[in-house]
Amino acid sequence: MKKILALVLSAILVLGMFVGCGSDSNEVDVPEIKGMSKSPIDTVELTVDYEVPGTFKIGFICLHDENSTYDLNFLNAVDTIQKTLKLSDSQVIVKTNVPEGDECYVAAKDLVDSGCNIIFANSFGHEDFMIKAAKEFPDVQFCHATGTKAHTENLKNYHNAFASIYEGRYLAGVAAGMKLNEMIADGKFTAEEAKIGYVGAFTYAEVISGYTSFYLGAKSVCPTVTMDVQFTGSWYDAPKEKNAAEALIAKGCKLISQHADSMGAPGACEKAGIPNVSYNGSTYDSCYETFIISSAINWAPYYNYIIGSYVKGEEIAADWCGGIAEGSVVLTGINQDVAAEGTFDAIKKAVEDIKNGTIKVFATKNFTVEGKELTTYLADVDTDAAFTPDTEVIADGYFHESEYRSAPCFDLRIDGITLLNQEF
């Protein structure tokens, strides 16, 4: 009898919760929501000057699935290119949740078996297994995002790709700096207290290049800004990213951004009411009270490039790095309820300045390392077992990012940014 009573009571409780929720949301006053603006970067339409034969097939290998913001960004581009080229579902094969091990090699071979002409993999750790498959199947083109070895492997059918996302990060940084300025002007904290928190995955060039350009963008409008970086040691770990963001907020960071692939950091910001500049795409839908803007790589232009090259019988470049002009570097719209007044115009102007070369993100006059401006730096561009620096990357007053290979190689620790943990 007691049990029945308990069951009935718990049923009432559960029902009550639903009813409660319903009435709550009805009572809240809805403030005027201005919502998202359009993107400060004009959309670049894909130009298709070729006809895809019905026998053509392309395969995609993704590390995670649509739950990871990183992979979702690739999958969205797959949808875009499939619609643009009017490819049938059997012409586009997508494998998700493929680990960075032998499984990637098996997945690539399976795609070859299925008749794919081009195989694309999206995670850094897939590279060696893609190269292994590329050597075995010289007639199939293997394209890999974020990898570093194509220009030294000298395989005709293995290619790397990236985007000059540091420019997008810089632009997103401008939005962050303007938000800090607004909060300083509102008397929320002093100019000296303006500190950004950044959740990074690994102490790897791709991450370092990202947070440094983001910081430089913020600094271009808010000169007193400093930044703390907390690493998670994982590309995708929601609890770790959430904890890192919370720790940064507790340390007095006024704004958070991240280079890690889960909703951990944006979610923590939304809970704490701390503004967030996101990556890989908009997190507005679940974080509309704190989301400002997000930079992302749009992979559709690269997909268009490789499919076009293959169909036309042209060679695919060993390294391909798309920028703003190609439509590879994109920004989401700006959340006008959170971003500072005038953010849209400030970014729009910075976009023009980057396009006409007035702004070089990594201009050596903009940053110092241990108090000194750099005039020379050897970066590790060609991957070898000992990771020896091999290429001079500073010339004409700026660091030549993504020019000698598509993947970022900026790994300087510049002044103003504190790395809280370097274990990863």
Partner: protein, 356 residues
């Protein structure tokens, strides 16, 4: 236990064909329910979905090899946890024991690869992996035997230590900070014919050995007795502490071999996710097979079939992987549920005057 006048009682053992019949009914029921769920959620034809699962597992030579390899690795880890579980030592640390075996293996490749001749290198790799697996398993065993610490928590914690050690060494091995170690294929285990053949043969031999060890040796008998009742074991003169430690040495050694096969035999590199949760899946494989190594061939096949099949479904129909997880969940729920009903039955209590 009594709820709504219903009552759970233990069954008399049933004949084997009756058991098989109940299991078959359970699987068919699970397929029907899955079909309903698939149709409601996705509007796809469930028969096509099942066809796609079969295609993902048996569709090509490559897929069959891949399935056999996955079964071999999962079975190997399941064999490792079985002696401990049979002894009712809840070893939830296979994940870490395999990983640490792999880490030892990768370290040998890294530092001794170019210093030793190939045959010596292979021997050192085997010894290092097995030793590392044993150390990781025997630490909680010693604490359990001497101070009666909780082995479930202890082995779970050891997993995290192993994962963090791998992260630490990756940072140390890979100076550019990417956390991705280039595979060292030249130092891998020898390839006999197809690259998975060695793994499959090794695990096949291990299956027979573990079967004999558990069913036909004095030590295997001692494990059963300690598992049934520690007091009985003590009463008949079995040194329980010794049995606990010795069994976990066996368990850890097999985990070390799994690490060797995964790293030295397959990936030739390591990451924190190399074991990919199989240390925990192995527990289910072992339980479902009632700790019988031969049945474990079927249960590990079942799990791999569901996983590989579900992946193919995601690919063929562009469904979110959650849908495949739901199908896998429903099928496993029925299978585990039917094992329960093979041992127990529900009867209506007669006005609270039931006995039993």
């Amino acid at each position: 236990m009594s709820l709504f006048g219903l009552h759970i009682v233990k069954r008399e053992p049933m004949s084997w064909y009756k058991n098989m019949f109940v299991r078959a009914v359970a699987i068919i029921a699970s397929l029907i329910l899955s079909a309903v769920v698939i149709t409601l959620l996705t509007n796809k034809n469930p028969l096509q979905i099942y066809a796609s699962m079969f295609d993902g597992v048996f569709g090509s030579d490559l897929r069959i090899w891949s399935m056999a390899q996955n079964v071999a690795i999962l079975l190997c880890i399941s064999l490792a946890v079985t002696p401990a579980f049979k002894m009712r030592f809840w070893n939830c640390g296979a994940e870490g024991q395999v990983l640490i075996g792999g880490l030892a293996n990768v370290s040998v490749m890294m530092f001794l690869g170019d210093k030793l001749t190939y045959p010596v290198l292979i021997i050192v790799m085997i010894l290092a992996s097995v030793a590392a697996g044993i150390i990781w398993a025997v630490i909680p065993a010693i604490f359990k035997a001497i101070w009666n610490t909780n082995e479930t928590l202890f082995t779970l914690m050891m997993n995290y230590v192993a994962i963090q050690l791998v992260a630490f060494f990756l940072k140390y091995f890979v100076k550019n900070g990417s956390g991705v170690l280039t595979p060292m294929e030249e130092y891998g285990l020898p390839v006999i014919g197809h690259s998975y053949v060695l793994n499959i043969i090794t695990v096949a031999v291990l299956t027979v050995l573990v079967y004999i060890y558990l069913k036909r040796t004095k030590q295997g008998y001692e494990i059963s007795v300690v598992g049934e009742s520690e007091n009985t074991a003590k009463y008949i003169g079995i040194n329980v502490k010794k049995v606990i430690i010795r069994t976990l040495v066996v368990s850890g050694a097999i985990c070390g071999i799994a690490g060797l096969l995964l790293v030295g035999g397959t990936n030739h590199t390591i990451s924190t996710t190399t074991v990919d949760g199989r240390g925990f899946t192995a527990i289910m494989v072992s339980w479902l097979a009632k700790f019988n190594p031969v049945f474990m061939i079927f249960t590990s096949f079942l799990i791999v079939f569901l996983q590989n099949g579900a992946n193919q479904v995601s690919t063929d129909f562009r469904l979110p992987s959650a849908i495949s997880d739901i199908i896998t969940g429903i099928i496993l729920f029925f299978i585990i549920g039917c094992e329960f009903f093979l041992q127990y039955k529900i009867v209506a209590s007669k006005s609270g005057k039931e006995n039993n």
